[in-house]
Chain length 228, copies 2
DNA sequence: TTAATTAGTGATCGGACGATAAACAACCGT
DNA sequence: ACGGTTGTTTATCGTCCGATCACTAATTAA
């Protein structure tokens, strides 16, 4: 049980990976481990899963907290490329198509047991990185979606989305997001076809957005202004 | 620091509550404690917050786990009255009004830091009680909403909602739910008026539901059946 | 081959944890 | 006033945790 043959370099009796690869392997496996056990999981259990002894972790990471910070980094920084903003803003294609393609891609990255659990564990800790992630989603994705919706609905372009618009897009976005939560965290039965879920959600959202903000929006805004 | 005057029975120097009240007080305070610290929080810190010593907890609860189970029960069983089903099904009132009133009431119960955090901590543990809660929401609330939507849209009544309908209502429901998560767990800025958020979400949902399932639904169902 | 360097292990420390037992203090019926 | 009952504390046990140190084994450079 204590002797394992090396995965690579099979000729030597003892395994020996390059320091950098070893580090990355540790972080990757630690991510899976903490996703399952939570960040209260012990370093001994983690080391056992890595096939090494516990003190070795402290050669690669000064403390458990530092290891956890690296886990955060890999999880949170993994998904965001800049391709998504361009995709959403490509007005040569119809908006429903862009939204569906974006959410197919976005959920393809974040809909996994690992990602979602780490996300919630860190969220419950109230970590800075979690809040900044929420801010990025709002500024890079949701604001862009609103701009495109306004354009598609023939509404005048505004630099800043209104709070009500932003909230509505949050509700839409969160609804899709929670499909993954139900599937991978609650392990509840969900509609088999993620694509259909997204497609329906996008269609319903666009119809709803037009219905709420299309005609009466200007009137309501005026009313709100009067009351202030 | 170790001597506190009794909250009731002020004439005696030492506090002494009835055993049942004491128990309830412990469970209530423990709920707040675990909501903040997670269930990994220590019994010593909990006892300190209660103003008693740690072994006393073990006179009222056989183990920490039993205490936690009582916390679950109070949190999960607190909200559900049967008034909500009746409210949703009251066809003498317009559906948007019913939905808005229901979600105002429902979120009035679950939108608190305490409730939401306990909910997610137990969800991440994969507890039975959490899954059964999700099942209750689906069967008692979402199914009912679908029935009312079908009726309001003039669609034929069906005994069971389709998977796609159910999913769409889940997305709607989750969108509203996540408003509370953003506010109380991420502590992110949200639209000040919860009522407006709900109102917009309901209006958008109903417009979207009609648009997706209103006219073309029968046609799409036929297509799906052909491909199966 | 050998010396220096690096990767990995065994043993262990102080502290926090859940839980228990025995001593003590407050209450109640008599 | 008193003795039994019950609520509460003090002291402690065994275990697990994060972290450190001294040591061995593997690798590299000369």
């Amino acid at each position: 049980m204590s002797k394992k043959i090396s995965t690579r370099r099979a000729r030597t009796k003892q395994r020996r990976l390059s320091p950098d690869d070893r580090r990355k392997e540790f972080v990757a496996k630690a991510t899976e481990f903490f996703a399952e056990e939570g960040f209260g999981g012990g370093t001994r259990a983690l080391a056992r899963r890595l096939g090494v002894t516990q003190p070795l972790l402290y050669r690669y990471f000064p403390s458990k907290d530092d290891l956890i910070k690296e886990v955060y980094r890999t999880v949170y920084l993994e998904p965001f490329g800049d391709g998504w903003e361009k995709l959403l803003g490509d007005r040569t294609r119809p908006l429903p198509e862009r939204l569906k393609e974006f959410y197919d891609a976005y959920t393809g990255v974040i809909f996994s047991r690992k990602w979602l659990r780490i996300y919630f564990y860190s969220g419950l800790k109230g970590l800075e990185i979690n809040r900044s992630y929420v801010g990025i989603v709002r500024d890079k994705i949701l604001s862009r979606i609103i701009r495109e919706c306004r354009h598609a609905a023939g509404l005048p372009a505004q630099s800043k989305p209104s709070a009500a618009e932003l909230e509505m897009v949050w509700v839409f976005h969160s609804g899709i997001f929670y499909y993954g939560v139900r599937k991978f965290i609650y392990e509840a039965p969900v509609l088999e076809s993620k694509e259909q879920m997204i497609s329906d959600a996008v269609d319903a959202f666009l119809a709803g957005f037009a219905s709420v903000f299309g005609a009466k929006e200007e009137a309501r805004k005026a009313v709100v202004k009067e009351t202030v």
